[in-house]
Every structure is written in structure tokens, then in C-alpha cells.
């Protein structure tokens, strides 16, 4: 058994709007004249520290929990789940 830190990165799907990201872009970044910035997407990251036999299993455990507890809504969210060795 090893310990893994599983990152769950949740953001709105690419073609769904993201008011928070847009606001940061338009009302903060672009006001500072950073015209090279074209887009900002806001999201949320959760870090699960999990004990599992391997990386894949750690990711599976976290994915199952997220699905069951509806930590994200698969309808709106794009989710990346990846385990890192602690």
C-alpha cells in the first residue's frame, strides 16, 4: 500500500460559459492591459490523500466517491482525476 494524492480538477465544460473566469479576464486582467491574455477559465481543485495499492486504484476510489456523492455534476463539469505519488 502506498499513499497517493489524487487531484480532482473540476471546471465547466469547454462550450459552457464560465462567468467567474470571464469576470477575472475582463474586469481584472485586461484592465491591467495584459492584452496577450485571451481567455481565463475558473475551476476548483480537490486533493484527496488516499491509500491504495497502485495509482489506477487510487484514481478509481476517488472517482467513485465523486460520482456517488455528486461532488461534481457530470452534465456541466469537465473533470480530470489524476493521482500523484506522495
Amino acid at each position: 500500500m502506498s499513499t497517493y494524492v489524487v487531484h480532482v480538477i473540476i471546471e465547466n465544460k469547454p462550450n459552457i460559459s464560465d462567468p467567474e473566469g470571464d469576470t477575472i479576464l475582463n474586469d481584472l486582467v485586461l484592465k491591467g492591459n495584459n492584452s496577450s491574455v485571451k481567455k481565463i477559465r475558473a475551476g476548483k481543485i480537490l486533493k484527496f490523500t488516499v491509500e491504495a495499492s497502485d495509482k489506477k486504484k487510487a484514481e478509481k476510489i476517488v472517482e467513485k466517491i465523486c460520482q456517488e456523492l455528486r461532488i461534481f455534476n457530470p452534465l456541466v463539469s469537465k473533470v480530470v482525476i489524476e493521482a500523484k505519488t506522495n
Binding site: 462550450n15 460559459s17 462567468p19 469576470t23 452534465l75 456541466v76
Partner: protein, 722 residues
Amino acid sequence: MSLQKHETKYVKDTIKRKLTKTELQIVAAEWSEHCSYKSSKKHLKMLPTTGPNVILEKGYDSGVLDVGDSYVVTVHIESHNHPSAVEPFGGAATGVGGVIRDILSTGTRPIAILDGLRFGNIENDAHARWLFKNVVSGIADYGNCLGIPTIGGEVEFDDCYKNYALVDVAAIGYGKKDRLIKNHANKGDLVVLIGGPTGRDGIGGSQFASNSLESEDRSAVQIPDPFIEKLIIETILEARNEKCINAMKDLGGGGLSCAISETAESLGIGIELDVDSVHTRESGLSPDEIMISESQERMLIITCKEKLSKLKQICDKFGVTCSTIGHVKDDKMMHVKKGKNTLALLPAEFVARAPLLDRKKTKPKYLKQIKKENKAKKTLDYSKTILKLLSSPNISSKHWVFRQYDHEVGIRTVVKPGFDASVLRLDNGKFLSTKIDGNPKHCYLDPRQGAIGCFEEACRNVVCTGANPIGMVDHLQFGNPEDPEIFWTFMESLEGLTEYAKFLRIPCVGGKVSFYNETPLGPIKPTPLIGVLGIIDKTPFLPVPPNNGDYLIIIGKTRDELGGSEYFEYIHKFIGGICPSVDFKDSKINMLAVLSLIKNKLVKSVHDCSKGGFAIAVSELSIFGNIGCNIDINNMPFVKNLSSEKILFSESHSRYLLVIDQKNIIRVKQFLSKKKISFAVLGKFSGDQINITYKSKNLVKIIVDILRKRYFNGLEDLLKHG
């Protein structure tokens, strides 16, 4: 995304050519049940819509009521059921946004929100709990960000909404009569789209709402942005003051297609627009997508050339994007172009008026199978039953819900949520009382009497605050109307509402019909929802809690009507029995009597008997005063000899409980006798427990403190530990 057979034939006969791809998309969006009301429009005409206070203007999306001193109140109700069932937070929030823009489109400022929420059984269904929590957060987030108070509503749970949600939002606006937008347009006027950019979210949403929810449709989700909405509100109101707006429409279901065709049709004008001028969120949107996108927080404005620069200046001030997308013509055509190419050219009237349907109706078979009596039931201990009912999700206090809402922002809320109806202070010194009510359990057993009952209950709640009902809005929610049995329940409800509205002379000033509310287990129970507005001319009636020595009086007759009651359904798990019906004459004289007692300051508080019946209503009064009550129900006015359980739990209508100070009791009794009202003095408030006796036998004995805990903790405990 297709037309039905008869529609294709109608297109062929009328237009005499094949529709272009864009035209087909536009027509399919506009002719969906959601936008066209093709099943219901013919029948909705039966509702009375005029009255001395009603102001009618073409193209209004909300009802307008004159409240005197050159002020108006506007009201509208909408639902966002399908979107909320798949994305509860965003669906509920955008539902609030949509109805607020309807209020705004008449040129009035939104001042309050009410919401009626319905979910599956949260006691044993985690998904229902997830939907419930997120819908409440969505409404709270959107309303709180906008600074518009959510002042009331109702929440109900029933197995028929499994994996589904009914989210109904009503909004109220307020403004000066002379600042109402008088929708009009002249040739050469400009068509301007303001607000958020158009994107791919919500593509095909209205057709999605017109299909049953069998497979989760994933593209139709809309994302709320309350801060843009707030900016739009301020932009529009300033543009209104600067007289920059000739006509206005909010973009809701059906997006631009719907807004353009309906505006052109109602004003008798033509509109030519270029999709390239629409500001979009992402590049590569096809013209069809632009036409039917349901991106939120957008408004369509018609302004004249001279005012355009002023309008743009106001939009700039608030940082709201606006683009001139077209102009007004006099050919009554809807003309969609991309650069020089014509994509769609159809008569606006043809697009806006779908061929209406005559749906078949037949009396549902299930009604014949419903048992009138519950024979299997066992006798229960009444004290335990009352405690169980008080902590049940449908009856227990909903403070877990309304505490998440800012219900005071704007400092108009005089009577706050948690009582019968909420009361708002208006600038002309009057007060507005509002409530929405529904009851699917009653409506399932008898759609006609059930619907009338919801209407009466909303009136009763408003009357309890001392207000005279002046207008109503209805929201009729049913399953698939192609099923003749479901259509029968719709027609019964509608006819019932019409009959009662005509009797009380309360005009219907707005409403909505939502069909295709189906879950994998079948159609929902008929769920008409009625909102009633009442006006208090002078001082609002603030309920005073009962004190030691105060009398308890009941007005109205109790009947053998346990059907659809919480007692049958929650305690005995029995669906059946006789549904409560409203005696019109009693209903009216009881209302007038209560109003007159309030006006003469003879009552301390008034509470209506509804869910859970008399036993629950009196418990709520005791909890309110934190005081016990000794009651003898022997001389309770009833229609024929009733058993004690029927007296305690029957949900008969037109009943009110009054708390009367000792010094007024003789005058109140004299007044009620003189008016020939059925009433009885049932007992006095004192001590710390509720005692109910019947034929010298003690039926109920509960300490108020225990009642209180059960009532206030029921829902919260369930959500925290469920």
C-alpha cells in the same frame, strides 16, 4: 428537432415552398409546446383576465395591476423544471433570472421573488436531497446577488416527483404607471440586443422542455450570471427613464427566434436582422445556433435612431454589451440575414402562431379505482400522530430553506416568510400581500376541486394578513398532454380555476403552462400552482402571538374530507378518500368576515387551516405563542357527524383559526352570529401543553416545548443526518 405531420402540411399549404434549414430551426423552436402553448392556448381564453385594476398592453410578458396613486405592481410566474432536474443549481438560478427579466420588460423594478419547489421523497432518496439542496442554493445565490428579496413560497415532497424537480418562480415588480413601456415601433427603428454574449449553452432548450426527461439531455444546460443580470436591470431602468425604449422583450425559451417573431407579431411590424451583428461568446457559431441559443441574461430592445447613442452610452456606463442587430420594417416579415445572404424570410405571424391543437380528453381510469374509505387503517395515538406530522418534511418549518434567502434586502418586507403570506411595503403607503400555493395530493384525487382548493388556500393566506385579493397568476403543470387522460386533468383544473376566479371576480393576470413533466415512473400528479396578490390599504396586520387567557375561535365547517391529507398519505400511506371541495358561498362570506374583524382590530392573529388540518394549525399557533391551549372540539362546526380523526386532520377549506383577546370575545361572537358565519369558541390559551378533549375524553396531550422542537428541527435534522 422536427415538426409534426400536420405542421409540415400546414407549412406546405401556407408558405408553398420548402423551408430553409434556418427557417426550420426557427419554426421548430417557436412551435414547441413550451413557446407556442399549442395544446393549451385555445382553452386558456376561458380565464377572466380583465378587471378594474388590470392594465393590458400588447406584448407584455407580465401582468400589470394598478395599485392607485399612479403606481403599478407587476407579477409573473414561470417554471424551470426540466433544467433544474438535470442541473439543480444552474437551472433554478436561471429560472429566477428569466422571470425577473419578464418583470423588467414592462419597465418596472423587480422587488420580490417567491418560489414553489417540489421534489421526490427526501426521507429515503439521496438524489432528491441533492436536487433540493442545490435548487435552494441556486435560488439563494441568484436572488441574493441581485439584491432582490425572496419573500416566500412553499416546498413539498411527493413520490411522484422522483428523480425530478418542479421549480416555480414568481416575481413581483413595482413602478410608476407613466413609466410603463408602451410597446410600439415605427419603420426604421433599430433592434438592439443587450446583455450577455450568445453562446452554445441552452441550444434547443425549449424543445428539451417539451420532451419528457427520459434521457438526460446534456447540451441544454444554462449557466447563471447574476451580476450581468443586475447590470441589465440598472441599464434598462435608466434607459427607460431616458425614454430610449420603444418596445422590449426578454430572451427566454426559443431565444432570438422567439423574441423576434413574437415582438414583430404583437406590434404588427417586420424585423430584419443580421446574425453577424449578434455578439457571441465563441467564434464559429452557426446562424441557426445563434437564432435558437438560450444563453441567459439577454434583452431585446427596439429604440429609435435618435436615441441609439444615448442607449449605447447607458450600456457603456454599466459595462453591458449591446449590439444593433437589425431594424424595423413595415412588411410584417421576419427576415434573418447573414451579411447579404437571406437565411430566413417568413411572415412573423406565421412563425409566432403555431397551428393550435384540439387535444382529446378522457376521464382517467385511475379515478374509478381510488378507494373512498381507508378501511385497512389501525387506530393510532393522536399525540404521537401530531408529533410525527409536525416533524414531517411537508409540514415542519421551512426555515432551513428561507434562512438561506435574503428576504429583507430592499427593506420592504413587513411580514417575513414563515407565516401565512408575506407582506411588502409599497411607496404609496399601501401594502402588498402575496402567497403561492399548490397541492398535488388533492389535485390527483380531484383535479377540479384540488385546483380550486389551491386557489382558495392562496386567497385565505392573503386574507389572513388583512389583504383584499386583487389578482392571481396560475402555473399549470402536467404530464404529457398527448395522453387524453392527462389532458382531461388539465381541463378540469383550468375549468375549476375559471369558475372560482369568476365567482370571486379575481382576474388572472398571468400564468404559464408546463406540460411533459414526466419521470421514468410516469407523469407527475397534476400540479397547478396559484399565486394571489392582495392589497392592504392602510396599516398592515402584524400577527400578535397568543397570550395567557386569549380565546381560540374556528371559522368554517369541517367536513368528511380526509382524501389527499397528510394524515392519510404520510401517516397511513394511503392515497384515496374524498378530496376537500370549496363551498363558494361559505368561502366568500368567511373571507369577508375575517377581513372585517382584522379591519376593526378585533383579532390578535389569524391562521388558516390547511396541510395537516385543525390539529396542525392549532399546534402552529401554540408554537408561535409558546403557550399551551385547552380545547374541546365537541361543538366544532361540521357538516355531518364526524369521527374525532376527521375533525382533527381533515383538510377542509375555508377554515380560519382566530386568536381573540378576552376583552373582544363578546363583540367577535356577536359579529360572527350576525353575519351567520359557522364558528365556535374552542378553548383558551394557557399553560404549557396542548390538551384536546372530545365528548369528555382526552384525545391529545402534548407539551408545547416538544412540539416546538419537532416542528423546527424536522427538516434540518433530515438534511443533516438523513
